[in-house]
């Protein structure tokens, strides 16, 4: 195990623990810059990973760091997307101005939700955000001059500073720039007094209040910042899907975002990004598995004779072609994660890392979670 010997306060506040960690992140960035040369096939999917990464950061700030669980983040994504499309295509504003305006507008929407949400806690807040999202979805469907209503609205390719970003590679880099910027901004914010106030609110509202944290201000800020990130994500998302319709921004999308932060690991920026990779690439993996798994199973069963192999293939093929299977797989993964790995992918990664760095001395109890009951001490 390697200890970092700290000699200045600056080391405590720094973005990276030490030079080694920084170099790893630089290497990762270089790898992502070189990626389009190495794997040109899946760029579109990876762009979606980046956009979902922004969304994951957004919800991680709110749910993972401030402890406010929102079931309405798809609405913020929608506000960002529709605002961006309206500004660029109807008003003809420059792309970058439009994106900034979309983010500001979404932040304003975030404040609008945040203000009544200040006095609510737990499930009340979750339901209030859900109600907000459903209302906004109805607005998308009814406000036809701006949103195109139920017929939907086509989105042009982005034109940034006069460059037409029509190709997958250009869009990949656009998303990468936004995601890197978002991560940098969020990481900086989280190590500032604002971020620490958020974490304090998450851990105990009363304790934070007694330490002089103004709950109203910081909760509203968390909502506004989270919504602004979602707005940026929405602007990119609009270009990625190319066509906006109200049914995209449904509760199911909000649930997917929550799935992202839970599966990734609540309370870590790494978790948001792991979750984004997971949620954006799982449908790709499922559709790949649809094509290959029945044949594979059939070949295995063919050991017992050709008839068995064919029958297995047909049965497996019929099973995987069921339309309702995919949400079920998402649900199953969510359930398994919460039951067996509540700290998410990032938690698992931490455990593996600590296991190896402290090799013979790893203690299971390091990650044991303390259970808290609201009304009585424990369940017997």
């Amino acid at each position: 195990m390697r200890f970092v010997f700290k000699t200045t306060y600056g080391q405590d506040l720094g973005l990276f623990r030490d030079a080694v960690q920084r170099n790893w992140y630089v290497a990762l960035l270089l790898g992502l810059i070189l990626l389009p040369r190495l794997v040109p096939a899946y760029l579109n999917d990876i762009s979606l990973v980046f956009i979902y990464g922004l969304c994951g950061l957004s919800l991680m700030v709110l749910a993972g760091y401030t402890g406010l669980v929102s079931l309405g983040h798809a609405a913020f994504l929608g506000v960002g997307a529709y605002a961006h499309v309206y500004f660029t295509q109807t008003l003809g504003l420059p792309w970058i101005v439009s994106v900034a305006l979309a983010a500001v507008l979404t932040a304003a929407a975030g404040v609008l939700v945040g203000l009544p949400a200040l006095r609510m806690t737990g499930v009340y807040l979750t339901i209030a955000t859900l109600a907000f999202a459903l209302i906004i979805q109805e607005v998308f469907a009814r406000w036809e001059p701006v949103t195109g209503g139920l017929k939907g609205r086509a989105v042009d390719k982005p034109v940034v500073f006069g460059f037409k970003m029509g190709s997958d590679v250009a869009f990949y880099f656009l998303c990468l720039v936004f995601l890197a910027g978002g991560i940098w901004l969020t990481a900086n914010l989280l190590r500032s007094p604002t971020g620490r106030a958020w974490v304090a609110i998450r851990d105990s509202e009363i304790a934070a209040q007694s330490m002089g944290v103004n709950l109203a201000v910081y909760k509203t800020m968390a909502f506004a910042y989270s919504a602004a990130l979602m707005g940026l994500g929405g602007a990119l998302f609009a270009h990625r899907i190319g066509f906006l319709a109200p049914d995209i921004f449904s509760v199911l999308l909000s649930i997917q975002f929550l799935l992202m932060v839970v599966v990734g690991g609540l309370g870590s920026l790494h978790g948001a990004l792991f979750g984004a990779v997971f949620v954006a690439l799982l449908p790709v993996a499922i559709s790949q598995a649809r094509d290959t798994v029945p044949a594979g199973l059939g070949q295995i069963a063919a050991v017992f004779g050709k008839g068995a192999g064919d029958a297995t293939f047909v049965a497996a093929d019929r099973f995987v072609k069921q339309p309702g299977l995919e949400p079920g797989i998402f649900g199953l993964i969510l359930v398994l994660f919460i039951l067996f790995e509540p700290l998410g992918i990032y938690g698992r990664w931490l455990k593996i890392r600590i296991f190896f760095s402290t090799f013979p001395l790893y203690k299971h109890a390091t990650f044991r979670r303390q259970k808290t009951y609201m009304r009585s001490e424990r369940l017997r």
Partner: protein
């Protein structure tokens, strides 16, 4: 995936009240109130299930609406596939879904007690997705109608058309509430359940098997949801997205104040009435969101809902 974006379209009444000419205003309003009451009873029953579970185990069950869907599908299966009589199928479905709820508690949900509320919410959302997937694989993703003794029958009382489906919902709700009231107040098990939900540890020391009580509460609230599903079946249609009505029921439970049983019913009926009245008298599009607008307004004024109690956590 083919999810309707307006997930609760199933509760629209079959006749458009705005075009029904030649009727007094009072008759129309009465008609709306009657239908709203019936729809509200369904919301109330599902909300009741939420509240029962929440009061006892501090878990928020987002899969409540999907229990309702399972109940409706199970009844449909028995009636249409196997030719069982309606009432027998009803009882079988409620029993099966109730047992399923108890099994779910003892195998999965008990393990997450004491974990952050958010984790539990996500867990039940995941379970709901699994149930929907299961239903779509088992019963198919088509839309079904359940033939019942009440289907498409109506009595005219004055200017008001009283359809038997709606009456069956209201009567069913009243009977169920009376039974539950007597159960929780008068029977040994019911009182034990109340004790377990007030203080688990104290109840345990008094010799109450707390875990079994919790399973029983899950069984009851899953059963109540199944009853709601079967009562709703003739009014709405059965499909795998029936469970999304749970979202509105959630609004009802929160409106009433989470953790208050009368609050859940009052909240449900309020939402049902608002929905039908706004559908008739407000511009198009308000019907689906009016309930949520009211919910947000109520929460902005009283964050703990209408009947909720303010509880601050001890530090």
């Amino acid at each position: 995936m083919g999810t309707p974006w307006r997930v609760d379209a199933g509760l629209t009444p079959r006749y458009n009240l705005r075009t029904s000419k030649g009727r007094g205003v009072l008759d129309t309003v009465l008609q709306l109130v009657l239908n709203g009451l019936a729809v509200g009873c369904i919301y109330g029953l599902v909300a009741l299930g939420f509240v029962l579970i929440y009061k006892a185990t501090e878990l928020v069950n987002f899969a409540q609406g999907d229990f309702m869907m399972l109940g409706a599908f199970t009844t449909y299966m028995f009636v249409v596939w196997y030719g069982v009589g309606y009432w027998a199928a009803f009882a079988l479905a409620v029993a099966i879904v109730g047992l399923f709820g108890a099994a779910l508690d003892s195998t999965i949900l008990r393990r997450v007690l004491g974990q952050p509320q958010f984790a539990v919410v996500m867990l039940t959302i995941g379970l709901g997705a699994i149930f929907r997937s299961f239903a779509s694989i088992t019963w198919g993703s088509e839309i079904y109608t359940l033939p019942t003794p009440f289907s498409a029958k109506a009595t005219r009382v004055g200017g008001v058309t009283v359809s038997h489906e709606y009456v069956s919902i209201i009567v069913g709700t009243v009977v169920l509430c009376a039974v539950l009231f007597v159960f929780f107040r008068r029977t040994r098990v019911g009182v034990a359940m109340q004790a377990a939900s007030q203080n688990q540890l104290a109840a345990y020391y008094m010799g109450i098997p707390v875990k079994r009580m919790f399973s029983l509460i899950w069984a009851i609230s899953a059963g109540v949801a199944a009853i709601a599903g079967v009562l709703l079946a003739p009014v709405s249609l059965i499909d795998i997205n029936l469970g999304f009505i749970g979202l509105k029921a959630f609004a009802a439970a929160v409106l009433g104040g989470f953790g208050s049983i009368p609050g859940a019913l009052v909240g449900g009926i309020t939402i049902g009435l608002i929905e039908l009245l706004s559908g008739a008298y407000l511009p198009h599009g308000f019907k689906d969101v009016a309930a949520y607008v009211v919910l947000l307004l109520v929460l902005a004024i009283r964050p703990q809902g209408m009947f909720g109690t303010v509880g601050r956590k001890k530090v």
